[in-house]
Symmetry: C2
Subunit: 301 residues, 2 copies
């Protein structure tokens, strides 16, 4: 009972806390998916809510560009909207920062936050600042909507679904993690044209995130590691465990494979789409395990 | 240009950043009021959004009860809903905390967060945790609704309006700041029965908050300091500048005064309602100033 958070790990902490959380009939999907999905009085569309943070010393180093940190802080939350095929609309920014910090630095941070928001037409509608004696933390809360028939949870995967990922995996820490663009356009296109069964964004690495999707769908998975789209200069192991890819991972009927691949190539010329494996019943094959990706309270970046 | 945040102060920082923020026709009231007020597709009611944080060393000391910190973290955001006469429905919790912290402490924190949420029927629908090397920060984001004709901004005050406060002011730091109840029931009753012109919650102290309400309404104010409802054992100056009262401050037509005071006494037996002054045109009397209340990046608690 006297264990520390680091010994317990984030997933198990959440597993302990989540059952306590109060739910009600207005909640479609609560904690555990990329965004919370709730019903808003009188509206046809569902309300999506997401809160996410970046912390100095954990998600960025003290010397990073303030503008890039702001961009990343906003895009991380937007990436969770992509994961649900949601449309982000409003953002709140909470900044915990030492009073000795330069005003210029804070302005550049907001410039990055605003640029990322504007990229997807999101209005920054409020915020809060607090002093601290410690590292800077930027918390972004985003609200938006999704049509009920286009809301994709992690839990909808079906046995024999193909598993696809967008883009390339691994090596994000070298640069991409500070200037990526959330896959909102791609996700909205997918749900406008296909019946996607389950989807999430890759933030902690395929090795952590794919087991989460499979578990939420009560299935297991097989991955062809030779087929993984590995970033230039990275190993397969890095593609599995580096994290911060912010690509889409989704499950879709194998009957849609040919049409999906053909239409995708025409629509997104510069972005790869790769079938990396498939979902199957848990009993069929021994559960495939990866080396771990990034897990909070375990490894540090 | 090389000024620090502490030299600039929170109000002026926000004044510099807010004009940059992207707005659009879906935004009724953005940064600068207690909650953001936005329109949600197809809904009659407006969507209210608020994000707020408590930070170790600033809003609480390391030895405080985790349950009480959680209660306060949630109630602060709920108090902003009271300020708009809003109904809170959903909350997200972002926890920035060192991995070496005890799991028991975190469970107690969530217990407090949940108790405060449940008090007003709010569903905790998600959250995020991050490691840090520094002090603990708890960020609570709340979404809810308000009927357009019951949404009270800070800016609606009219010349000659009476200014009222609920409860007593000052000395909150001794105990009340960790176990207060947001004035949501009182605010909803007010807007169900009266045309309130402007309202906010007292978080930084009357001496800071009343000038904000007056300024938003483009008016000045006169306060009878002898009439202030001062907490037992406090001076008038403490009632003005201590902060963290979490009481309602509102402006209402003087024609409603007698009916309001009579109905209030019958409805809220144990809670004082005090007329402390009135709003007036800026030119009429020299702008009344208070000694400062609590301003972030200036004074520390």
């Amino acid at each position: 009972m006297m264990r520390s958070l680091r010994e317990l790990g984030e997933d198990r902490l959440l597993a302990q806390i989540l059952p306590q959380l109060k739910r009600n009939s207005r909640v479609v999907a609560g904690a555990g998916d990329d965004c919370a999905v709730v019903k808003f009085r009188g509206a046809k569309e569902w309300l999506l809510l997401k809160s996410d943070c970046v912390v100095e010393g954990i998600h960025f180093v003290a010397g990073s560009s303030a503008r890039a940190i702001g961009w990343k802080a906003m895009m991380r939350g937007l990436s969770d909207f992509a994961a649900m095929s949601g449309v982000p609309q409003f953002a709140l920014i909470t900044l915990v920062i030492a009073g000795k910090k330069q005003v210029m630095w804070v302005r550049d941070l907001y410039r990055g936050l605003n640029q990322a928001a504007r990229y997807f037409g999101v209005a920054v509608v409020g915020g809060e600042t607090s002093d601290t004696d410690g590292p800077t933390a930027v918390v972004v809360s985003i609200a938006g909507f999704v049509e009920p028939d286009r809301c994709i949870l992690r839990s909808g995967g079906k046995a024999n679904d193909d598993i696809f990922v967008t883009g390339k995996l691994g090596g994000s820490i070298r640069r991409r993690h500070l200037n990526f663009v959330a896959r909102i356009e791609e996700a909205r296109w997918l749900t406008a044209n296909f019946k996607v069964h389950a989807m999430m964004d890759l933030s902690d690495g395929l090795g952590v995130d794919l087991p989460r999707l499979a578990k939420a769908s009560r299935l297991s998975f097989s991955v062809d590691q030779g087929a993984l789209p590995v970033s230039r200069g990275c190993t397969v192991q890095q593609a599995i465990s580096d994290g911060e890819d912010y690509e889409l991972l989704f499950a879709i009927s194998r009957r849609d494979r040919v049409r999906l691949e053909r239409m995708w190539r025409r629509k997104f010329l510069k972005l790869e789409l790769t079938r990396i494996g498939y979902l199957h019943q848990r009993s069929k094959i021994k559960h495939q395990t990866f080396l771990p990706g990034y897990v909070h309270f375990r490894r540090r970046r």
